[in-house]
Subunit: 198 residues, 2 copies
């Protein structure tokens, strides 16, 4: 059996650490990269290494090039006194893409999960509570994904806040473009519960 | 709309250069990489950059750490006087995995394709012809994929060789695990043509 050079084996092993990339896919990627110019390989390699320089906004926890992200620095958005709580960066970006929410965000860093050892101290809950109280935020929108852990996280967090703060959770139901035929019974139940006068 | 840091944009752009990776997949990969340790990011980045150090065997064109690859250095394999001609590295590895062929290889670097400007000079044809004549190779197995261009490449290459060299092409038919119902008519035609006494 032919012995592949170490550089190939290393590159294949490195790429299999990416989500959704198995050994075959990684191998195909490396085969394609063997046709690249040296400068291009260095460019891509550096782009990955440089992710270590990523900073987080000290307010909301979003990726940022400075101490605070562009959303937290925007006075218009700060003045709205509404915080949207999300689990992670990708969820924040998804909401931001809808261009609907005009306030600021807070990244919790996950949801409570006692089985995996994720308690309130592992999440940015105290920071969120302090932000809400210090800045007199009047509205908290919990954009936490629907799951047993997500539901528990929302319930627990509500108990931390003064009753004067309006706490809401995003709506659940049939997604736009969705088809009742292919949706799970739980979503249908939620869609029926959340019906609105037409 | 939130502005993502340059390092994220660069990493996403870099990963979309990989085959089969679109912007969404690249973004998901980068999101997952933001949770890695700095040392791991450097490791993966370097594994990609170091692909530029890859050498090619001066005989067969396979990836190699030295001047010649392990197959070409193997005297047992050299003594067999049989060369298997493949289009690219991945095809060579696929054949080597079957552990069936005991001779040496030659990577052509593609197939003739006049429309894309690939003529005999763009492929390692002269090198192959010289190897065959100098080393008195008696058998050439064309493991070129079946396509109009592949067929033309095989026909053209045969005309370059002395008639004493036995030139063969790998067999075409129903793949093991394949199902007649789902195979294309051309494969069925080949399978019928290539039938053997049972």
């Amino acid at each position: 059996m032919i012995q592949l050079p170490e550089v190939i084996k290393n590159a294949v092993e490195a790429l299999t650490r990416l989500p959704g990339v198995g050994e075959k896919t990684a191998f195909r990627m490396v085969m394609s990269m063997t046709h690249w110019r040296g400068a291009e390989l260095i460019e891509v390699g550096n782009a990955i290494s440089e992710l270590r320089d990523l900073k987080l906004c000290q307010d909301c926890g979003m990726f940022s090039e400075a101490q605070f992200c562009s959303v937290c620095l925007d006075e218009n958005r700060q003045s709205i006194k509404s915080i949207c709580v999300v689990e992670n960066h990708a969820d924040l970006i998804a909401i931001e893409k809808s261009s609907t929410f005009k306030g600021t965000y807070h990244i919790l860093g996950g949801v409570l999960n006692p089985l995996l050892g994720v308690g309130p101290d592992e999440l940015k809950m105290d920071e969120l509570k302090n932000r809400i109280i210090e800045r007199e935020v009047q509205e908290v929108i919990l954009a936490i994904n629907p799951s047993v852990e997500g539901d528990a996280t929302c319930s627990y967090f509500k108990t931390l806040l003064p009753e004067t703060v309006k706490v809401e959770r995003i709506g659940f139901g049939v997604p736009i473009g969705g088809n009742l035929e292919y949706l799970d019974p739980m979503t249908i139940t939620k869609a029926l519960e959340n019906r609105k006068r037409f």
